[in-house]
Symmetry: C2
Subunit: 199 residues, 2 copies
């Protein structure tokens, strides 16, 4: 049943964002969805498969945002990259970004065997990669950086711990946090400069 599986993946997404893969238990997922654990296993064969489904959902949503940006005729590649990165940061600050440990080997193995996941990941990388190359040609991104490095840096915003730390402090609004992290990603700690440095 499609509807049921959607509900499962949504629960997994939330729990993954909240506690991460290792601390999320299948019992919790079942309880959150409101079905028995054995029923869960009729839909997904393993805990890893649950996580993979949540990541597929995330990639699909991200690609939808990419499509939306591609439709903005007047936007520059850099502005599109910025918009996608901002969207990811907003998702993260809102507590809806599922996060996986980069070290868990059983999980990595399952993901690397998951065709839909790999396909979407490749697709996203290629779409962003194009914009990166164009932004470098336009002088908006350091052309000496390999596009790969830029791509990973953007991807890494999805699991940047800084927003969570700032949010835990409770001093700043979500929008302010997103602005700061995005600005640091683009302009560094030195900040944007509109004129030549003074020294």
């Amino acid at each position: 049943m499609r509807v049921r599986e959607d509900a499962i993946v949504e629960s997994v997404n939330r729990l993954l964002a909240d506690k991460g893969f290792d601390l999320m238990t299948v019992d919790e997922v079942a309880a959150d969805v409101g079905i028995a654990k054995a029923s869960l296993y009729k839909h997904f064969p393993s805990k890893e498969a649950l996580a993979a489904a949540a990541m597929v959902r995330l990639l699909q949503r991200t690609l939808a945002v990419v499509d939306q940006q591609a439709a903005q005729a007047q936007a520059s590649p850099m502005q599109r990259l910025e918009a996608v990165t901002r969207w990811a940061l907003e998702l993260q600050v809102a507590g809806d970004m599922p996060t996986l440990p980069s070290q868990n080997s059983s999980l990595r193995a399952e993901l690397m065997a998951h065709k839909a996941y790999l396909e979407l990941l490749l697709q996203l990388s290629e779409r962003l990669g194009e914009w990166i190359v164009q932004a470098q040609a336009a002088g908006d991104i350091d052309p000496t950086l390999p596009p790969e490095v830029v791509l990973y840096t953007i991807f890494a915003r999805a699991c940047d711990p800084v927003p969570a730390f700032l949010k835990a402090g409770g001093q700043h609004s979500d929008a302010q946090i997103v602005d700061w992290v995005l600005s640091i990603c683009l302009h560094g700690l030195r900040g944007p400069r509109t004129a030549a440095p003074v020294r």
Copy 2:
């Protein structure tokens, strides 16, 4: 026995850097040190205490680097911050940076109750905080950023996933990876600019 405990903490440090807290088992630590698991528990009361000891060791080593930088009479606050950040990135690329999940609650509880850890963390934050404020006054760091944001951004380099990804690609030298990540941290994706922007 002090020597024995040092060996334990060093093993924990390596395993923590390699697999992370959740995937590291106490059995592994015991095997790595070469003693029985029960003997481990004579030295440290819990797995969390092991991790805390490794983090204390890391903070002590970091503070030693801070001291070393403070002794460089001719260095600016910004150069000192850069040197400390570079050191952390080199540790990370070398696979010696212990990394803790920011979500594990039992671990967080133990850390927050660990006096030596908290004291050292506060000490490090204050030392770096001074340099941050001075670097902002000197115009080397965006003065509109709260120092807290800058501090967290620097701390986050310790668990930045980008170096590991680049290293996994096997295309680049460790030194090159460190240079890129550090440059992006300081100058952003747009890169350092020595003159006014063209547009």
